[in-house]
């Protein structure tokens, strides 16, 4: 999006936003920032400065208050990403279970390096730290879904399924 006027949550999401703000005491609406940034990312895939300015307006806070938070937390994408963002755990326990080899296979299959997006725009691959699923590693996450006990065969099947 390039135009501020096009940044607007659909009515049902806007209703959720107002409900979320009510979780906190009067005047503490800034607490709603993380939940709303998650909603914004679900809506627009990544957080452009227009989106962040829009969120600042919804919460009646300064845009800088949104930028400083969005840049601190690693779940927020600050640049355009593919349709499916694969967040791959690179931490110790997953590595013990062969996470490194499976990761290399994934990158090779998609023809991307870490942080890259596949040529068809379908997949972005990101490395993340521990996803709290160490006993079920190797693990990656795509949006809300955890994919666990990964093998190269499983990765092939997941990518094929999502490529349809």
């Amino acid at each position: 999006m390039t135009n501020t006027q096009t940044v607007q949550f659909p009515a049902d999401t806007l209703e959720r936003v107002h409900k979320i703000i009510k979780r906190y005491p009067e005047g503490k609406q800034k607490s709603a920032l993380l939940p709303i940034l998650h909603l914004a990312q679900a809506e627009w895939r990544w957080l452009s400065s227009e989106v962040m300015d829009y969120v600042a307006g919804l919460l009646n806070i300064k845009p800088i208050e949104v930028y400083e938070v969005a840049t601190f937390y690693t779940m927020f994408h600050l640049e355009p990403v593919g349709e499916h963002v694969i967040e791959y755990c690179r931490t110790g326990p997953c590595c013990l279970m062969g996470g490194g080899e499976v990761y290399d296979h994934l990158k090779k299959k998609l023809g991307v390096d870490t942080g890259g997006t596949s040529a068809d725009g379908k997949f972005t691959v990101k490395e993340v730290e521990c996803l709290a699923a160490c006993g079920w590693g190797p693990v990656f996450q795509i949006r809300e879904k955890y994919y666990m006990n990964l093998t190269t065969e499983k990765v092939d099947a997941i990518i094929e399924d999502l490529s349809k």
Binding site: V69, T74, G92, P93, C95, L96, E129, A132, C134, G135
Partner: protein, 446 residues
Amino acid sequence: MKILTQHIDVPGIETIDVYRKHGGYSAVEKAIKTMAPDEVTEEVKKSGLRGRGGAGFPVGMKWSFLAKPEGVPRYLVCNADESEPGTFKDHYLMMKSPHTLIEGMIVSSYALGANTSYIYVRGELMYVINILEKAIQEAYDKGLLGKNILGSGYDLDLFVQPGGGAYICGEETALLESLEGKRGNPRNKPPFPAVKGLYQCPTVVNNVESIAATSWIVNNGGEEYAKIGVGRSAGTKLISVSGHVRKPGVYEIPLGITVEDFIYSDEWCGGIRDGHKLKAVVAGGSSVPILPAELILKTTNGENRLMTYESLSDGGFATGTMLGSGGFIVMDETTCIVHNTLTFARFYHHESCGQCSPCREGTGWMDKVIHRIEHGKGRMEDIDLLVDVAKKIEGNTICPLGDAAAWPVAAAIRHFRDEFEWHVKHPEEATKPGAVFMREGASWTL
């Protein structure tokens, strides 16, 4: 003896009806209808329950520090930001049995006089947040949350807050900053959250497992809880097991079983995977010192090491470790300790909030220097350089992330210095795929 996971595999336990059929919410009835808030706190004190997030501070004592000025709201915040590598017990408990946490939240909030409570869940676990929110709605519908709970006059609202992907928010003051919609920078203490916490109001922050255990304590009494376990390690503990065992997963153990039983018995981990031998264990999440096989199984006095706070720390950091969060990472002889330490160093470098220089700069240097050693470019003096950097971080930061970053590096060198030296001396061999140093005569050498 199971307290938290007794019914966890019952089909439908995530629904309030099935949960209640198995005795669920009886602690809420008992506490709210028959006990004064201070009586609940008293039982938790008697139980000897210690914080299950990693620090092991007595929960009842933490509650008793809560300031109670007239007319100022108090808050209970549940720390479900589980992010310590090797730890996934809270994830498991909330995903399988959300009402176990919600019941504990109601009982604990009642004890503390909180009328609004929050469960702060790491943002990656959005699917678990959805499970919790559904369960919370069920509890509202049954009159267990909201106004005038069970006709008692006690009101409680409970909300779930997502994080945004930051390990540091597991530190309680960083978590509160985050819950206020800010960057997760830990606060200087004092004041402690018990006096000035969320929105500068008195606040208790407890781990998921700690809060969940309070229901059983209300139902059965603190003294009964204290009977489980050994000495100051009372009760049961959820242990998250990962790595090279036959059966990784989450186990609820009575504190006090031997480490050897835990690793080798079929009731728990089922032993090391076929054809392999135990090399090392990180017993309490990535930040606690790694121990080689002989030291994790027995103390230097030759006693069996137990799964307790005290036994695991026997010998101090020279020969012991910590129970920590119960993130139990098991490594067999195929594990390169240098590589494993690199993944931990990289983790802490990535997760340092950047507020304190020793941590911000030190974690970066440890990551770079270990990276250099792992990739065949290390120098012999790098090994002592790492020890030196670790020492300069430890104790010099606002929050414990600095210590958490320093300890695994220092411990890996303490117990596996030969492996680091081998990487420096034989870079060509050490950088071959799958290459691992074999210590002559070690119990794990095949």
